[in-house]
Symmetry: C7
Subunit: 284 residues, 7 copies
């Protein structure tokens, strides 16, 4: 349509653009100032809410509100800033603005929104809280932080694992420290020639004498397998702070004591055993 | 369009916004009060319905109704509160409000809705109930709670597992305690030189004498494998409360007794056996 | 728009809401009564159809019709109840009502609809029926029930497995009891020094003498492997009720007899054998 | 809107509904009669087309046409029946009727449509036909039936496997009986001290004498591995009806003969061999 | 609406349908005739194009054009036939006709369209051609045919594998015969006491004397592992027609010769070796 | 509607179609000519751009532009040809034309578009270039070509691997030749009785004397495991052209030398060792 | 419609196209010039922002802003260039222009957008930064660069791994160097006859004397397993710069020292031990 002198038209359009941009400049500057103000208000509101909800039982709710209020204020700020730049702007236009195939954008933003929502729901439903020790797939460690996008775990050997919240939300999680006590177990293989009752007695004795093992629920010693070379007796005992470090320590003490006591009582902890039927075929 | 004095326009728009916000303040306060009221009504209605449905056979239905009524009242409360803040608000606008690419939001909310629905359907169809012992993928334990988002399992050794309801809904679940009795089994390997009939007799004797093993259905002893070093006989017996703790105890008793009786009867529980054809090639 | 006295407007709106709710109360009560009536009609129609179709060959069709009629009547009941509460309600509005991003709801309902449809199609196409013994992935047991959402399997050792119908519908299923006979097999390893023909003769003799093994199709004994330590002969025989319990029993009888007969005939069932080239390097 | 006497309105609406239902009753009865008629026409047309296409080369096409014509006639019947009940009904309304979020229904029906289409395409493109022996993932057996939803396989030991057509359509399938001959192979391990040429000669001799092994393409014997304890020679021969039963029989004959001939010729089939460097450290 | 005498209305509607169907009959017959004509034209056009493009370098393009032209003519035929039956039919109506939730149909057809497109793209981009030997996932064999839906592979032992084109298109494929030569390799383990240089010399000698092994690129012998019991030397040589049968033959020749030559030169091919520290604990 | 004489109407419609087709013939011919012209222009433009961008640093950008310009010109050609055949054609109609459920087509084309885009992005972002040696999943080889649909890799033993670009784009790729040097390593197990320091000295000596091993960064020898039978020392050294052939050669040289030097220095490379507790139970 | 002389019409349309193209030429040239200008402004703005944000704590934010500003300016440039070529062009038209089934394009672009967004979010949320050592699935190395599409890792042995950002964003990542210290561990197996307390003392001594092992948190030695042939004691110690090279060095030192000290103290590091029950069956 109307392309009498394309060169001129193009030039004029370019000029008009430049002019329009210059006219918009003050608006843009005000918008940036306003947006920055909103940004700081958002940050402040976040910190305020966090401080008001320091108490243990409302901390998670506080974190949620803080996060939501910050996001909400920044969103408002964005709208206001846009409305300042483009006076005819309406919120509904934003959706149009995103444009370039809304579905594609939707899909792209999907992961972000999912992680954000999953993070909030983890805070609200509290499957675990900060300082819990959890297992997720092949990762295990102490929960350090539940962020907007991901949950941070610190492994027992001092490495950080970053798990997207959506992953945590849609898969099973094991929380080792959910209850106030936890059972440990170790399978001890005694010889086929040894007295099962005697071995059980010694195992229970060791568990009763261990300072970390609880007496209620009581420790147990159960035959679980008539295995290839050994009769396996499972020692089971409960410990009270169910944390990893404690579990390692009590296991160290129990195993050391078990080894000493059983050997002292003449009970065998046999090596893997094989029966050999021997045929000498040496050609002489 | 109309950008005579952009600075002024922007300033006026800003002023108008601030003024609008102040005018809305009383509405916002009323809305918060009303919403809080609805919130407490929702909570109260939930507890009321729960208490009214304490009886065993209607408890699950009660949990469902309680959950639905709470959600419904909060939804109504949200609509009322919004209608107070924005008098021209209509429910239909909410969908628009969600905006920013509805598909993305839909996808993001999908996991939440799915888990919520799955939770309700688990309560209604009752594949398992509280205190059942279930196996799901690599996890096993006692069902502690069926929440809105997830089902909580307590492992036998005192750890908590959080399984999203949608996972439980779309995958196979094994319920160990669904029926009132359950069969246990243990494969015992006797020597190739021993009498199969004799061994079977002793095994059945042990199972008949065990106090936990049921006599009806009767225990069985079946040859299942002519294995490398042993003839494997499978001892099978039923126990009545099919819970894990009972299974462990009866297995302990059966295995101890089996070992003692079989050895006493001179029946071999042989070690892994190998036949060696020996060629001495020592260079002398 | 029109915010002269927001406080008053809000208050009036609140009052109007309360008033509207009170006016609706009788409608709501009638609606609940009507819906409950429909609910019982639905339940009754389901039971009626089930009873009318007790006969073996039409039982599955009966289950399908019963299920569909129940669902249909409840749906009608829902429409009627809604029409009573909101006189201006039209079925088409329901879709709108679901609102809040229809796609999300659609996705959430998808699993439920899929399982429901899959359940009906399993009943119609009958890949298996009640009391069949099936294998699905790592699960095996007897089909106890084909419900709306899931198929219930009872394992041979008395545990329940709940398999979502959609899973059964989109994956391969093995039906052990589909045909009236089934072949069992067991690989017997004889020594390299033994006579293959002799061993085969004894194996076939044992299978012919076994009361459970069918004579037509006849049992077979085939060399399948010249393995490391043994020549493996596969004994194959057919049993008539192809159920698990029968398979276990006949296998027990066959294996016991095979072991006795082969040993009696001087045929070796050798242990794993190794040839050792020995170099004594003891420093003396 | 118009809620002067809600109780009355509700009552009238209920009455009107009941009246409408009664007036519709004759229509419903006619509709059921008509639909049943269509149902039988559909069944008859299916059987007719099947009988007309008994011949081998057009059987699959016949199955497809029979299936399509049945489905088409039932669809027409549904439309006619609906048009009788609701005189103002138009086909286009059906889509609306399905309602409740068409996407959800679409997704739910997807699996059914996919399996139906896949079944037809398997019949047309004929990757395999009835009585072929196929391998699909971990399943192997003889194709018994290609149904609308699934393909039925009978394992060699008399069990039924139900594989959804969509699975077969989108994954690789191995057809053992696609060609008229098939090669079998068996790796024989001879001793390191034996003569490779001599062993090969005996293997080829055995294969040439076997009645089932084809002479064209000729059998082969190839060294494939200088393994730990043995030199592995691969015997390869072709059999003509490439079915499983034949393969088992010929393998039985070949292996028996190979063992006898090789041993007779003094060629070793050695046991797994190990070299031991021995250090006696007995403390005396 | 207008249900004065429903019975009559229904009857008249039924009559009208029957009458309409009869009036349409001639159209339907013409439509079938026309469609059949188009069908044969399509088949003929396909064969014609195939014959015109017999030459090696344009054969694939010919196959593509033949396939597309056939599909196009049948599509036209369908439109014409439909236009004859329903004179007011317009192509745009077809989409409507498919109805019953277009998304569901779309999803169902998706696999078919994908495989069709993938098949054409495989013919055009030629990752492999007929008679190539390819590996796809766990399948290996010679490409027999690239069909519309699937690619047919013949395994070396005479079985057919049907791989959906979409699978081949979206996953990695290995083409063994893409280049005119290919390297083979075999790891030979010599004893720790042997001379590495000597062994290498013999290996290269064998490879140079082998008639199938190319001299350019030259064969190689490289130490690759100081393994548990052996020093592993990798023999690598190139063969010219890189087909499976040739590879098997040359490997047979090389391995036989290597074994003979190495043993003749006194180089050890040791059995797995273990060092035993022996403690006699026999209680006497 | 208007079906007075259906036979006539149908006949006339058929005639009109034939007539319309004949009238369109010249247009079709012109369209084909025009499209062919565009096709050659596209090919020419591609070659031109490729030739203009021969230089190393702009070659990839050239490949991208060549590919895009060719695609763009062919697209224009298609539009022009269509506009010639159907004068009333508008580009917007193309989308309609694709018809038959656009979603299905979209899904079907998705893989093609994805691979095309992925190919261009690989060329632009250059994770690897031609002649790089890469590892992708279980495949390893030299990059031969980055085509529109797939990337071609040549394995070291002369086979071709075709990897779809979308696969390469969405998964991790290892580029062995990305940097100018690369470290090799080999774990050597010495006896528990040997001197670790001595062994380390010899290993470093060997690495320093090797002509291919770089002196900067220096070679290293580190104890990494106190394994079952050996103390494992890891020899690590850098090589400069980090290509596979060089790595194999230097490893050959290092291993040969290491074996010779360590043995000469009296350091043991022990066989797997086991301690045997011997109980003679021979019944005499 | 209007096809009086199709040949003429086609010809005229072709002429008009050519003429239109020529008239557009100056516009196209200006557009290219303008676009190129924007391109350089974008590049310059990127570099400017990068240089302004060199400081450690704002570097990531700088990278983000630089990347966004560049993208934004190029987008503006594209719009301007298009507006110059087609004066009637409006941004909204771009979406239409993309055409050819927007969903397909959306899906195709999805991966690109996802990776781009994921890259920005990794920079902002900082799960790891440049020079961190991370583990992702089976890959481990030092982060070299966080690009728009992918994150580049350099393995410790000098190879490059290219990981798409979307992969890193939606899966768990382990960051080895997140904290300033990290724990190393090594399991040492001592003999069953050795004194556990003595062994622990020596292990702790070695760890205390090691210069790299921190004294706070203190090193530990814990019994972790009564294994088949050994009692396993886990040595655990912390190192301060938790980088791979340091870990290797300290492990080398600790293992060497442990071996020397334990052997010197007469503590056994036993070989795998087996108990042999010996039956001499040599036929004499």
């Amino acid at each position: 349509m109307g392309s009498l002198n394309p060169l001129q038209t193009a030039w004029q359009q370019l000029l008009q653009m430049v002019k329009g941009t210059i006219e918009l400049l003050p608006n843009i500057i005000i918008a940036i100032v306003v947006f920055t103000a909103f940004w700081f208000v958002a940050k402040f509101s976040r910190r305020l809410i966090k401080n008001l909800t320091r108490k243990k039982q409302s901390r998670n709710l506080g974190l949620v509100l803080a996060r939501l209020s910050q996001g909400f204020i920044i969103l408002i700020g964005t709208f206001v800033a846009l409305a300042i730049i483009i006076p005819s702007f309406k919120p509904g236009d934003l959706v149009q603005l995103l444009g370039v195939s809304g579905v594609a954008v939707g899909f792209a933003f999907r992961d972000i929104l999912q992680n954000f929502l999953a993070g909030i729901l983890i805070l609200i439903t509290e499957p675990f809280t900060l300082n819990d020790q959890i297992i997720f797939k092949e990762f295990e460690g102490t929960v350090e932080n539940i962020q907007t996008r991901a949950t941070i775990i610190r492994t027992y050997d001092g490495r950080r694992i970053v798990i997207p919240n959506a992953e945590l939300f849609t898969n099973s999680v094991t929380v080792n420290t959910a209850f106030d006590k936890r059972r440990l177990q170790y399978d001890i293989g005694i010889g086929y020639g040894d007295d099962i009752a005697e071995a059980k007695k010694i195992i229970l004795e060791v568990l009763h004498n261990n300072t970390d093992a609880l007496q209620d629920p009581p420790p147990e010693a159960l035959v679980v397998d008539l295995a290839g070379s050994t009769i396996n007796i499972r020692a089971r005992w409960w410990i009270n702070p169910p944390r990893r470090a404690d579990a390692m320590d009590t296991q160290d003490a129990v195993l050391t004591e078990l080894n000493n006591k059983l050997v002292a009582a003449g009970i065998d902890l046999p090596f893997p055993t094989q029966q050999i039927l021997f045929h000498d075929q040496t050609e002489e």
